[in-house]
């Protein structure tokens, strides 16, 4: 009898074990376990306005429809964070021009970061460094960093990769995107490539009021908007108007309205460059004169991207323009354009009407078609 109970117990234990193993993630998958899934990469053509330059795409990460979709899913999936509560999109939301509209972002542990999340609109054109200090040289490199940042997603890539391998859907998506043969070939590099591909499609629609004006619809601006435009780009002479120079386009120029260069734009009055609370670009270059410099963000959709500056110190565009009209503090590495703000105005100072016109022009940069583009929204909703 005792023998019989023993045999039943052992049998039940074995059966339970077998069943349990069946439900467990496949920790040791067969080589080639994804080969039966078709891999037919279809080139993805980035949709952009005709008057925008071609989007830079690295040769080792060609755009494909499946990789873009994988990247989109990863971008919005909290699977990347240690406690599965936050994703890239937690700090980069479409309606906020892919910012979180917070002064600084809060990570999964409730810790506040040092800097504001940057807008991702037209980020594909940012080839002069990413983040406020330019510490990443490519979207592929940038996409790797928030996952392991302790004040952001606070995870490790080995853990993320394990979760992706064990996931019911992702191995198939990686196969379709990159042609991997088995789930063990999922890597953080491939995940980053996919996310970079998704970020490359975040391009303006070209339907903002500003774009329509630039494309020849010159009546679309009212007088105030036109004045703001002419001061921003310093083109008042073309209309025979006597308007001051606002110096904006020197830093926020080009079709994307950013040169992606680094400036001390006159935010803080410091006695020496070492006194900056945030040393900015210096943390990357180690160059003393880069202390307090930050990358210029795009001004496209700026009305949707509040608050402003690397630390979100300004809540409104009016505050931003007001600060620039003060022309900096004379700090050693401030950009020489700053003191020339308002050049040719009485006393070389912008009037309240001038400032209002500039703000009004900045609102013409709003591109609601972009933020509502269904192709870039959260695929889980």
């Amino acid at each position: 009898m005792k023998n019989l109970f023993s045999k039943i117990f052992i049998g039940l234990a074995l059966a339970t074990g077998i069943l349990a193993c069946k439900d467990m993630p496949n920790k040791d998958p067969e080589p080639g376990d994804l080969e039966s899934i078709p891999y037919n990469p279809q080139p993805y053509t980035i949709v952009k306005p005709s008057f925008f330059p071609n989007v830079p795409v690295p040769a080792d990460n060609p755009m494909t429809a499946d990789a873009v979709q994988l990247g989109r899913r990863l971008f919005y999936d909290p699977i990347l964070s240690a406690d599965s509560t936050m994703s890239c999109s937690s700090c980069h939301l479409p309606q906020g021009n892919f910012t979180d509209n917070e002064a600084v972002s809060i990570g999964i542990d409730g810790i506040a970061g040092r800097r504001s999340s940057m807008a991702l609109l037209n980020i594909a054109y940012a080839t002069n460094g990413l983040f406020w200090d330019g510490r990443s040289s490519s979207l592929e490199d940038q996409a790797l960093r928030p996952v392991e940042d302790p004040i952001e997603l606070h995870n490790t890539w080995p853990q993320v990769v394990e979760k992706l391998k064990d996931h019911p859907t992702y191995p198939t998506l990686f196969r379709k995107a990159f042609g991997i043969n088995d789930r063990d070939q999922i890597t953080k590099e491939l995940a980053a490539k996919a996310m970079a591909q998704f970020e490359r499609i975040l391009i303006s629609s070209g339907t903002s009021k500003f774009d329509e004006f630039k494309q020849g619809n010159i009546d679309i601006f009212d007088d105030e908007e036109l004045d703001g435009f002419l001061m921003y780009f310093e083109e008042a002479w073309q209309y025979g108007l006597n308007l001051p120079d606002a110096q904006c386009f020197h830093c926020h120029g080009g079709i994307t309205l950013t040169g992606n260069n680094y400036f001390n734009n006159g935010l803080d009055s410091v006695g020496s460059l070492d006194e900056f609370t945030d040393l900015g670009r210096f943390e990357v270059t180690g160059n003393h004169s880069d202390k307090g410099k930050f990358r210029t963000p795009t001004l496209r959709n700026i009305a949707l991207s509040a608050p402003y500056m690397h630390d979100g110190r300004f809540q409104t565009l009016e505050e931003v323009v007001e600060n620039y009209s003060k022309k900096g503090f004379g700090v050693a590495n401030e950009d020489p354009n700053l003191p020339l703000m308002g050049l040719n105005a009485p006393n070389n100072t912008l009037s309240e009407a001038h400032k209002k016109a500039i703000v009004k022009f900045l609102h013409t940069l709003t591109d609601t078609v972009f933020v509502k583009n269904p192709d870039i929204q959260n695929p889980f909703q």
Partner: protein, 255 residues
């Protein structure tokens, strides 16, 4: 048959000049190093340089320039073009020091031989300046959006930015903003100097001395206190003309 032979002979003669243009003589790599100076000293950002007779402190924060049709000149007047367009940035944003950069560009397959000089177009030549950044691939020098000004329909040929202490009292009270552009200020200058192009021989250095860019033909210093910026109006190019003109005497070519 005679007619056929004559025909082929004519055909061969017709192609002969074309073949001659592609002279298959020995070639070599040839490096041109671009340098920026102030009074002969390698330019350093944010460094005070004494300027003018009063020696007022002058700093530079940015210096970049486009150069077109950089050509080696032969004694017979013909030339070999090294580059159609280059963007030379002496103050790049990824530098770990304020010492100016010295970009060195190596040109391949340059015909070996003795040259008598170098010709440079200062700025973007009109045929290219008629285009805009969207016309070029991303890595092309002319794809840089921030170096194009739509108001002028022109690239910004040269950017020189800085500050000056006009009262010499420790306060950098003058911002200097010289952005020169538009076809009217495009200049081509040639510099006569022996240049030997042979494998293993050093290339050349092209030096731009900023002090001389602000020195007038009569030796006086340009009044940077009064003329501290270039006009936005392309019909008012007086300041830009002065600076682009002065590039000639500011340039030295040495091997």
């Amino acid at each position: 048959m005679k007619k056929l032979t004559f025909f082929f002979a004519l055909l061969a003669l017709a192609f002969l000049p074309a073949c001659h243009e592609h002279d298959e003589g020995p070639t070599a790599d040839f490096t041109v190093t671009f340098k920026s100076n102030f009074a002969g000293e390698q330019l350093t950002k944010y460094k005070n340089y004494p300027y003018g007779l009063a020696g007022i402190p002058l700093q530079f924060t940015r210096f970049s320039t486009y150069l077109s049709d950089i050509e080696l000149i032969k004694a017979d007047g013909s030339s070999h073009r090294l580059a159609e367009i280059e963007y030379v940035d002496f103050t790049p944003e990824n530098a770990s020091t304020d010492l100016s950069a010295t970009p060195a560009i190596t040109y391949k397959n340059v015909p070996e031989g003795e040259y008598t000089g170098l010709r440079i177009g200062y700025g973007v030549k009109p045929s290219l300046n008629a285009k805009d950044p969207a016309d070029f691939d991303n890595n092309h020098p002319l794809a840089k959006e921030i170096e194009y000004w739509s108001g002028w329909n022109s690239y910004i040929f040269t950017k020189i930015e800085g500050k000056a202490d006009s009262e010499n009292n420790g306060s950098l009270d003058i911002s200097l903003l010289y952005h020169c552009g538009s076809d009217a200020v495009y200049k081509v200058y040639a510099f006569a100097t022996p240049i030997h192009v042979h494998a293993g021989e050093p290339g050349i250095a092209v030096n731009f001395d900023l002090e001389k860019i602000f020195t007038m033909d009569d030796g006086s210093y340009y009044d940077i206190v009064t003329n501290f910026y270039t006009s936005n109006n392309p019909n008012d190019i007086i300041v830009a003309q002065v600076l682009m003109h002065n590039f000639e005497k500011a340039t030295t070519v040495v091997q």
